[in-house]
């Protein structure tokens, strides 16, 4: 799976990481200017950050259980979900992002055209603007791709994945709909 780091807040991967001592986290959370802090709350109350700007955080994240959310005594979330159990099994490649995951993307082949040898698999679409060609294909679940020629203002929609072939016109592009995440 490709890595996309833009806007990533957190990207924990279980793939190829090595465990380290918990000290690394503690260095950020429990020590402020070399002064030991009793706990996180004390850290916020008494310590003045002297290095990187780091604002207060709220909320806890956990895998396979409720983690700190049920440990701090502020939420007792477990009381609302007593029927839930911890996860048992394997987990891998966990990611959190502060944006949506995108399902549908288009593979764009500029200077190429979509092969039109099966007349039942494509149709000429009436469009007024170039963007409508993609927009209509995106909305039409049976549309697997489109061919757009800006010079001729033509738009073909394909209900089967077309082959991509070289075009004689540079203004032609063949675009395939791909259903993949990221």
């Amino acid at each position: 799976m490709a890595k996309v780091r833009t806007y990533f807040l957190l990207e924990l991967e279980l793939n190829d990481l090595k465990y380290k001592s918990v000290n690394r986290f503690a260095n950020a959370a429990f020590v402020c200017g070399g002064v030991p802090c009793a706990d996180y709350r004390t850290h916020l109350d008494t310590c003045v950050p002297f290095e990187n700007v780091f604002f207060t955080t709220r909320g806890n994240l956990s895998l396979g259980g409720f983690g700190y959310q049920n440990d701090k005594g502020i939420s007792f979330i477990g009381e609302h979900y007593p029927f839930m159990t911890t996860f048992q099994g394997l987990m891998d490649d966990f990611r959190v992002v502060a944006r949506p995951f995108v399902l549908k993307l288009f593979d764009v082949f500029n200077g190429k055209e979509c092969l039109k040898n099966d007349e039942s698999s494509y149709k000429l679409v009436d469009i007024n603007k170039f963007r409508q060609c993609e927009r209509k294909c995106k909305r039409n679940t049976s549309c697997q791709g489109y061919e757009l020629n800006k010079a001729n203002t033509t738009c073909y929609h394909f209900n089967k994945y077309p082959s991509v072939v070289q075009s004689n016109e540079e203004t032609t592009r063949c675009v395939l709909k791909v259903t993949t995440l990221e």
Partner: protein
């Protein structure tokens, strides 16, 4: 939070262990995302095993006493978008297992985002009475195979019913269990 701390020359006191829900966590999973070490996870009893999903890579093996938690989640608040992606493999189709949980504050006053696997069916909890689940009865992901589940907020403060679920790369139709839906708003 309980923490065992050791003195480290030139640095001060460092925690060598934290206790999460009664289990000692003396290891950390490093965050490889852009926010870095502030979001490393404290881990206990999660064994790294060869996954079989990707050759030569490892996965975390969770048991009943496993703990994997991150204390602060920073800017995830209000109606900000939060999206999860996770690969998992399990045979347990008898229980409702917690897979991912994000939350803060008291339950009911603000939303949380909890993904469970209820007898093989992924369910998203925002509050105890607000649950998003796939339509139909055909979903069973507790079959001992690798599966990917993605929970995606398409925009800020989206309606709970508008949160999208993807299973193995395909979007699945979902609906709120009791038909009610509100805008997602975290602490």
């Amino acid at each position: 939070m309980n923490a065992e701390k050791d003195f480290v020359e030139g640095v001060g006191m460092l925690a060598s262990e934290v206790i999460i829900l009664g289990e000692s966590c003396d290891q950390a999973m490093l965050n490889s995302g852009t926010f870095g070490a502030q979001y490393d996870a404290q881990v206990g009893n999660v064994e790294l095993v060869e996954s079989g999903r990707v050759d030569g890579k490892f996965a975390g093996k969770f048991a009943g006493n496993s703990r994997f938690a991150i204390f602060g989640m920073g800017p995830y608040s209000g109606g900000e978008m939060v999206s999860f992606s996770l690969w998992f493999k399990t045979n347990d189709s008898n229980n409702e297992m917690i897979m991912v949980h994000y939350g803060a504050g008291k339950v009911g006053s603000k939303d949380h985002l909890t993904v469970t696997l209820a007898k093989g069916v992924p369910v998203v909890y925002f509050r105890p009475e607000y649950q998003l689940e796939p339509d139909g009865d055909g979903t069973d992901l507790a079959d001992g195979e690798w599966h990917q589940i993605v929970i995606s907020m398409p925009k800020k403060s989206v309606q709970m019913a508008g949160v999208r679920m993807y299973i193995d790369g395909d979007r699945v139709k979902t609906s709120m269990r009791n038909g009610k839906s509100e805008n997602v708003f975290f602490t």
